[in-house]
């Protein structure tokens, strides 16, 4: 039920080549945007881990990212730390908060879990990141301005160079998550998603695994936040608000919340979508509306998301050509796609 390994490897290779070459030809402004796309893609990965693999919903991924970003800001700009030391602190802090959010989430699913995560997001928006609550963390009325780091003596200040760095980080995260998914953790998390009862009676500590998933997802979002802080060289609460988290979830859902490929495309879509719209007679303001319309259409026609749907169609077309009658019917559940 998997796309054959070789075409998939070719596709992934081609995708990486495109992602390396195209931005090199773009203007410095669009190269900056490309770095943002890679970072956003990492945020989509964090959604894939939590929603796609374990079936939990989170409307506060940008709050986890904010922890990474503000930790980076406070330590690099405020305390003069090296970015390379601040980054792991930001990731661990975000993961820890993720686990904390996961504790009440253990007893909740669906609507109630959504409400909980909305509450967390608003708590961050309105309280934690408000200028006068924790100035040592939020930077107060002066925002943090962490500088881009240097890597092995090379300053990552050039637009394309910094893009390469973020893209490499994205690939690294995807590789680690992909390995997790194809091993024990992936099976265990999907087992918990399909039947918590059976998972527990097969000897799995469902509680611990759900918390681990929240921690992992929040940690990835936190890493994205650390990168976002230095990509923008400024950290402001407005970039991490609740509405961003909603859009992120919508984009992950549209492309396919269970598949990692969705992340790469989702990230590019999130960043370049509004920009491309701005070049048409419409304006970037239409992006949310169009995203919403696409989401509704996709939920009606292909609930698993665009990428699983396309992969499924291709697979069927291939099998039909080979005259293979042993294919399962189109409505059979899809196991995994990419």
């Amino acid at each position: 039920m998997n796309i054959a390994a070789r075409p998939r490897r070719t596709l992934v290779g081609a995708g990486i080549a495109v992602a390396l070459i195209i931005p090199a030809l773009l203007s410095p402004f669009d190269q900056d945007e490309a770095a943002l796309a890679a970072i956003t893609a990492m945020l989509v990965v964090s959604v894939v881990v939590l929603s796609g693999y374990v079936g939990q919903i989170s409307f506060c991924q940008f709050s986890f990212a904010a922890i990474g970003a503000f930790t980076t800001g406070a330590l690099v700009d405020g305390q003069g730390w090296s970015f390379w030391l601040a980054m792991p602190v930001g990731v661990v802090a975000a993961a820890a908060v993720g686990v904390l959010v996961g504790i009440p989430a253990l007893r909740l699913t669906g609507l109630l879990l959504s409400v909980l995560t909305v509450a967390v997001a608003l708590f961050f928006d309105r309280f934690v990141l408000a200028t006068d609550t924790l100035p040592a963390f939020s930077g107060g009325s002066l925002q943090w301005h962490p500088h881009k780091p240097s890597l092995f003596g090379v300053q990552l200040t050039g637009e394309y160079g910094f893009y390469l760095f973020t893209f490499a980080m994205f690939l690294l995260v995807v590789l680690l998550v992909w390995n997790l998914r194809s091993g024990k953790a992936g099976r265990v998390l999907r087992a918990v998603r399909d039947s918590e009862l059976a998972a527990a009676t097969m000897g799995l500590n469902v509680t611990a695994w759900k918390l681990a998933a929240f921690g992992l997802s929040a940690g990835i979002a936190g890493l994205a936040g650390c990168l976002l802080a230095v990509a923008n060289e400024s950290v402001s609460a407005g970039s991490y608000d609740f509405l961003h988290s909603v859009q992120l979830l919508a984009i992950a859902t549209v492309w396919g919340v269970g598949v990692l490929t969705a992340a790469a495309l989702g990230g590019a879509f999130f960043v370049y979508g509004p920009e491309l719209l701005a070049k048409t007679p419409l304006s970037a303001k239409w992006f949310s509306l169009i995203l919403g319309a696409v989401l509704v259409a996709q939920l009606v026609y292909s609930p698993d998301g665009i990428i699983p749907k396309v992969a499924e169609d291709i697979r069927h077309a291939l099998h039909r050509r080979r005259g293979d009658a042993s294919m399962p019917p189109a409505d059979a559940p899809v196991v995994e796609v990419a």
């Binding site: 024990k184 039947s195 009676t201 059979a332 559940p333």
Partner: protein, 255 residues
């Protein structure tokens, strides 16, 4: 020696007794049966033994351990495995993956080993797959190894659930209505399989069913539940002739 001892267990749901003062024991190595009409409390008993919830009164002992308050996954790791009346396979995973989950659960490795593809991860992955495939082979399921579990017929799914439970390497296997939804021939197959499984894996089984055919065929000792109480116990021949059983149970089937 008794492997499972249920001692004066009661469980109420909103004031109604699902189980009332139920006592029985399952001896090491035997296939015991728990029968009774629908609503007699059989599945409630299973949920109590496997740790889905605890009884209001009474104790459940497994060997020398009091199971009270112990969570399901701890009980599973001590060797108590179960299947479900309403199938609980991991529906969107393949059959092979379903069977690998209990092997995964027994492994100590954390996420890091998998994320970095450490040798231990590869080794254990390989071992889990081999163990799962061997079990599929033993139960004649090799053909469906790569099928999506949720898309299979009920008969096959029941067999997969049995295989998955066995991958836990249990000492005590609880089977909740394993013949439900099976036809006469499939039920006969299942009876033969269960005896074969018990002999091969040297385990103890407790079987719940309201279908007498399977229980009479496989069980060595039978407890009859009715309205939350044990009303009779003994070997199959004796149960078949027990007047209170006939009244409570067989009478219902005859009517």
């Amino acid at each position: 020696m008794a492997l499972l001892t249920v001692d004066r267990v009661s469980k109420r749901f909103g004031g109604v007794f699902a189980l009332q003062d139920v006592s029985f024991e399952v001896r090491e190595g035997e296939i015991a049966g728990l029968i009774g009409p629908n609503g007699a409390g059989k599945t409630t008993m299973f949920n109590i033994v496997s740790g889905v919830f605890d009884p209001d009164d009474g104790t459940v002992r497994y060997g020398d351990h009091d199971l009270h308050g112990m969570r399901p996954h701890r009980r599973a790791r001590m060797g108590i495995a179960r299947t479900f009346q309403n199938l609980q396979l991991f529906g969107r995973m393949t059959v092979l993956e379903n069977l690998m989950v209990p092997v995964d659960a027994a492994s100590q490795r954390g996420m890091l080993a998998d994320a970095l593809r450490l040798p231990v991860a590869r080794f254990e992955e390989h071992r889990a797959e081999e163990r799962a495939r061997a079990m599929l082979h033993f139960l004649g399921l090799s053909d469906v190894a790569d099928s999506v579990a949720g898309a299979l017929s009920v008969g096959i799914q029941r067999r997969v659930e049995l295989a998955r439970a066995l991958c836990l390497r249990p000492r005590l296997l609880l089977l909740d209505e394993p013949a439900a939804g099976l036809d006469v021939r499939e039920t006969a197959d299942l009876a033969a399989t269960l005896v074969r499984v018990r002999d091969r894996f040297d385990l103890t089984m407790l079987l719940v069913d309201h279908d007498m055919a399977l229980v009479m065929r496989t069980c060595e000792h039978i407890y009859v539940l009715d309205f939350g109480r044990v009303i009779a116990e003994g070997p199959p021949e004796q149960i078949r002739q027990d007047p209170s059983v006939i009244a409570a149970y067989l009478g219902e089937a005859a009517a």
